[in-house]
Symmetry: C3
Subunit: 205 residues, 3 copies
Amino acid sequence: MGLKFRPVDSSFYELFAQSARHIVVGAGLLAEMLADGADREAVASRMRDAEHAADETTHAIIKQVNQTFVTPFDREDIYALASGLDDIMDMMDEAVDLILLYEPSVLPSELSNQVEVIQRCAELTAEAMPRLKSMSDLSEYWIEINRLENQGDKSFRRILASLFSGKYQPMDVLKLKDIVTSLEGAIDCFEKIANTVEQIAVKES
Amino acid sequence: MGLKFRPVDSSFYELFAQSARHIVVGAGLLAEMLADGADREAVASRMRDAEHAADETTHAIIKQVNQTFVTPFDREDIYALASGLDDIMDMMDEAVDLILLYEPSVLPSELSNQVEVIQRCAELTAEAMPRLKSMSDLSEYWIEINRLENQGDKSFRRILASLFSGKYQPMDVLKLKDIVTSLEGAIDCFEKIANTVEQIAVKES
Amino acid sequence: MGLKFRPVDSSFYELFAQSARHIVVGAGLLAEMLADGADREAVASRMRDAEHAADETTHAIIKQVNQTFVTPFDREDIYALASGLDDIMDMMDEAVDLILLYEPSVLPSELSNQVEVIQRCAELTAEAMPRLKSMSDLSEYWIEINRLENQGDKSFRRILASLFSGKYQPMDVLKLKDIVTSLEGAIDCFEKIANTVEQIAVKES
């Protein structure tokens, strides 16, 4: 048994880190999608590939937890982390998809701020995942993610207010509201994950 | 005790099968609702009845799991299956409701494709539930559901693109977007259930 | 140990009661927000304070459950109650926020009916939480919440029908739909909580 435990443990941390790295890639593609003159078809198809790769990592985690007798921390927390990371990828993929499908006539620059927040959250999460093994220096991570989520939320509300201020056509409002809502959803998921990590740390302490 | 287990077990499988049969009925009513010259008031009220019947089955499952000491598989998986099946019914009911409430001036034919996918998913799920007892021949089921969900997703995105292409009035876009989103939500739930069944199978294997 | 149990137990009930009291406050602020001539900026900022206070109570419950060896009832039920109560606050906060952000040119009177339902549900929930300790007289609570949710649902559907009847501009429909949907979401959460309480009662019985 002793032989079995370590590899299982480390594989969990490695899979979480892998999952977070997929998100860093996805966040980069999201930024590309918003750039002027982007080949949206091409970026969207690379986003789909990144999303499929992320799915495989998620399935590997679920399979791992279901086949492992002793998990490094509570099963429900592992599920929460795995599905939370998966949700972020889905929402970034959705945002990219909506930009491709809706072909909005205008993309307000505020959207780029949201995407910058997403990219920063992705980096912080990718750096934090490997530290789950030692459970060390994680508080800075969840504090900073919560700060970024508050900032993102304020700018999300500013964007909504400007969308509904009357300077946009109803169709553009419809399109842009869906897009910014996907971005906001991704940011919220980063906070959920940070909260789960905080919970795990509390249990371990 | 030996006497107690079997009936309890089989009652779970019977209740899941019952729940899935309610969904087959609901999917049929959804198809009726989209048919030309349908008496929408009448179909919607039959849908409400079907939804109430499904609720009772869900409550029976929850009551069963809460009162049962030994469950055929993990409680969280039983909850996931029960609430997932319930969610499908709610989303089909919502779609029927929205068609009644919004009175869309037009129902694009693509909606029928989505409903056909839902009907096929419902049949496959109803056929699979009784097989939970033996855990046999379930992989074809979840593979086919995943295939159907991908197909449904592609056509959902095509429908959104056409809704936002400019050929519809904003009010019609608002109405139809809600309706197709409920249909898409139902299809996604079928996939969630298939994934839960796959997880259960992995644990049992 | 015996010494440890009681205080822990009662602290859970106290925290749930506290959480529900925050919701009563929030529901009152929601009503103020809809009142003619309300200082929306001021009400919204008081709502944010109430929401932060509620968050702290939620975190206290989560921390408590994570640090407690013997919980008064199943951990997943405690999580469900805590996060459900938190969701209600978030949705009321969202509704207040949207009224502030969207500045709808009109607020149909039907919205006040929804808010009255929310206020009644909040009071009933606040009265019920302390009774979790004795598990007595809870059935009237969940039956009445279910009745109120049905009533709220009917009026929600009437509001949607009127929003889409053509007498509103697309932009107003977009704004009001989001607002009434947040209210409906809050009412649904009250029902979820009532259902969770019913489940707990079944397990205890």
